[in-house]
Symmetry: C2
Subunit: 169 residues, 2 copies
DNA sequence: TGGTACATGTAACATGTTACATGATTAG
DNA sequence: CTAATCATGTAACATGTTACATGTACCA
């Protein structure tokens, strides 16, 4: 339980780099597909962390490729740091739902407006769910735990849709 | 859909202040109980926003009370701003789940460690769920939409627990 | 080969978190 | 009356977001 001083996003990058050297762009794309919506990572975060991790000796910069994209490879120290992070205590979950926040104040808006609010949101999440199901189909080769995270995302979206239906009716 | 320039946290505070003047401490406590885990608000955020909102004329500072706590009351302009925010487009949801992130890498840890990881997390969420159910019982007087947000929190926790069970088995 | 679209990287900003300083209430 | 505790507020920091500058690849 030694503190590695890694934040979760940095750790996530180290984790992805176990598969081989990647550039910032690669990592953004990979994180998007691997973590989906429950751990988003923006480009700016990635580009901030990479030099930082390299400075600590967890990554080693390679030869710039096309468009002068800078690839990074994980080092032995990086692997150790990642392994340490895996055993650190998991932090709390964080949710931030503008929809739920508005719902808390929904008594202050008109029924008409409430209807469009929920209808719009429903459409968004229908689409998200469809995309996730698509992903699940394509994930047959992936390992069990990658699929598990997808499963969770799907479960969540379904629960949210059901909730929207019962609440808006 | 005019942009009020309000961030959601500021808006949430304005919403709570519709019930009457409150101090920073009051607001933190109220937000905790009203929004629960899907829109957390820390003391520091509150204390940063209050003078800011007062500066814009949305709040009016009252006479300091005990422990020199500063109460704020919402103004007519504040109510207008809040009403405007209610009709602005709701942003995307944000999830941040350290558990899910670790799960994505769970193939890299031992089965033993995985067991404790899930068991610990299960205990935490069991407790959360119990607390929520308690809250639901006590919320009989509350308005329909306050209960709806609670309902969602409960649904979420149940779904998470089910997911933990199927994934860790 | 000119220009459009796109990917990389940066930098300014907004938000969220942690740790601290201060003073008031309460318990002994 | 003194000490311990607790609530208020602040300030430094970490993280996340948005908007921009730059240069490279692609296409007409």
């Amino acid at each position: 339980m030694a503190d590695t001083g890694l934040n979760s996003t940095a750790a996530a990058l180290l984790g992805l780099l176990h598969e081989g050297p990647k550039t910032g762009g690669d990592l953004v794309a990979e994180a998007q597909s691997r973590f989906g919506s429950f751990w988003t990572v923006t480009r700016s975060q990635v580009y901030r962390e990479l030099p930082e991790l390299a400075g600590r000796g967890y990554l080693k910069a390679g030869k710039p490729g096309t468009r002068s994209a800078q690839p990074y490879a994980i080092t032995a120290a990086g692997r150790r740091a990642f392994a340490g992070w895996l055993t650190e205590s998991v932090g709390r979950e964080h949710h931030r739902s503008p929809l739920l926040l508005r719902t808390a104040f929904a008594g202050r808006i008109t029924a008409e407006h409430r209807r469009t609010l929920f209808a719009d949101e429903r459409a968004v999440h229908e689409q998200t769910l469809a995309a996730l199901r698509e992903q699940l189909k394509e994930s047959k080769g992936a390992d069990r735990f990658s699929r598990a995270t997808l499963d969770f995302a799907i479960t969540y979206e379904r629960a949210l849709l059901r909730w929207i239906d019962t609440t808006s009716s």
